[in-house]
Symmetry: C2
Subunit: 206 residues, 2 copies
DNA sequence: TCGATTCAATTAGGAATCCTAATTATATTA
DNA sequence: TAATATAATTAGGATTCCTAATTGAATCGA
């Protein structure tokens, strides 16, 4: 318990516990368990395959299938055949599922409150650090690839002198700062390999 | 998915998944499941009561009791009567449990790798932000109280001009920075209520 | 001091997740 | 066309997780 690494890991563990407890609480009030709530909010945002869900949650395909079946049995989700691949399926929320997903994302949790209470400079620094971590985890194949700024061909890191808005998005043609980094952007287009490496170095530089 | 809050929550979710998957992996190689691994490493660091374990993990006392029983059945932990309270127990690791706990903490995970790869400035900023979050979660009674710098009577936030080492610990009489903030310090002594509030304001100030 | 209440912990009962291994059906490749 | 790979589920079993009820010990008030 001495290096920053160890302290950070410890801190993440504590916050993870709070997140799980909060999810049991808020999901439980709506008749769901955490895994079901996570899957439902995910497919409410965007349709996904069972394999995506499993990768997103970091569980086996069999476990994901279990939880999906629970949602289907409750009439909150549908399994439809995937038009692009006869082996695959597309998961969609039902009307009731969408309604419940909105309540879930709206439900305030203790962690959300703590984030809101964070000074905006710390918020930006936190988001920046987490973005870097997620990028590294992606490269290590520990988590599935995100549609995030730091791998997007529209991203221009550190091109402005303004310390609060050093980055630029070529898609919306606007300057922005660490606080506005996206991890799941609808306009994301993957940069080519060498281009991505250059973005990475530029953003990462301390 | 627009405000920093939402992005941060999303990011924490992704990292949580990676943490859980890593724990299934590393604990699984040693014949444990995540909950058992977390309890074992916790009691290896310091003896604890079942109620502490439950609060630490954010689960019910009954669930904690289940997992503790699993550890006891495997010969990795012992339940001893608590000398201070006849209703309570003290949990201790056995020799085999200590040995396993060391292997667990030594096992490198993907998230640990990602943390190590983080530039040290981002590490410090991350630890600072997480410390603030944990402090808020404690106040909201969402997680149990930690033996952390920001609630310690030896802590002197922002007393030095040196930007890298602005804080001071009166116990060891040394300057330190955000990167060295402790969340579980052996020398922690809780500050009085009003004193604690003053520390908080001073450290929090952006 | 004695009863009532509170508290720490476990047990009981049951639902849900999680795993690996095996199976089915579709895609891809040689 | 045959062999292999992939997407998903099912089967079987271990474990966690919940709430409610129980046991024993500590504390509080009359």
């Amino acid at each position: 318990m001495e290096t920053p690494d160890t302290q950070i890991l410890f801190a993440l563990g504590r916050i993870t516990s709070a997140l799980r407890a909060g999810l049991w609480q808020s999901a439980g009030e709506l008749g769901l368990v955490p895994a079901q709530a996570e899957i439902l909010t995910r497919i409410a945002r965007q349709s996904a395959r069972p394999a995506d869900i499993a990768a997103h949650l970091g569980v086996s395909a069999a476990s994901a299938s279990d939880s999906i079946s629970s949602l289907v049995a409750k009439g909150l989700a549908l399994r439809l055949p995937d038009p692009e691949d006869g082996r695959a399926q597309r998961l969609l929320p039902t009307e009731a599922g969408l309604c419940l997903a909105e309540k879930l994302t709206a439900a305030p949790t203790a962690v959300q409150g703590a984030l809101a209470a964070l000074p905006s400079q710390d918020q930006a620094a936190l988001l920046r650090a987490l973005t870097l971590i997620i990028r590294t985890l992606q490269e290590a194949r520990a988590i599935p690839v995100q549609r995030m700024c730091v791998t997007c061909r529209h991203f221009r890191p550190r091109v402005h002198a303004n310390a609060d808005h050093p980055h630029h998005c070529a898609f919306v043609d606007a300057a922005f700062g660490d606080a506005s980094l996206r991890l799941d952007c609808g306009e994301h287009e993957a940069a080519l390999a060498e281009e991505a490496a250059a973005l990475w170095r530029r953003f990462d530089a301390a």
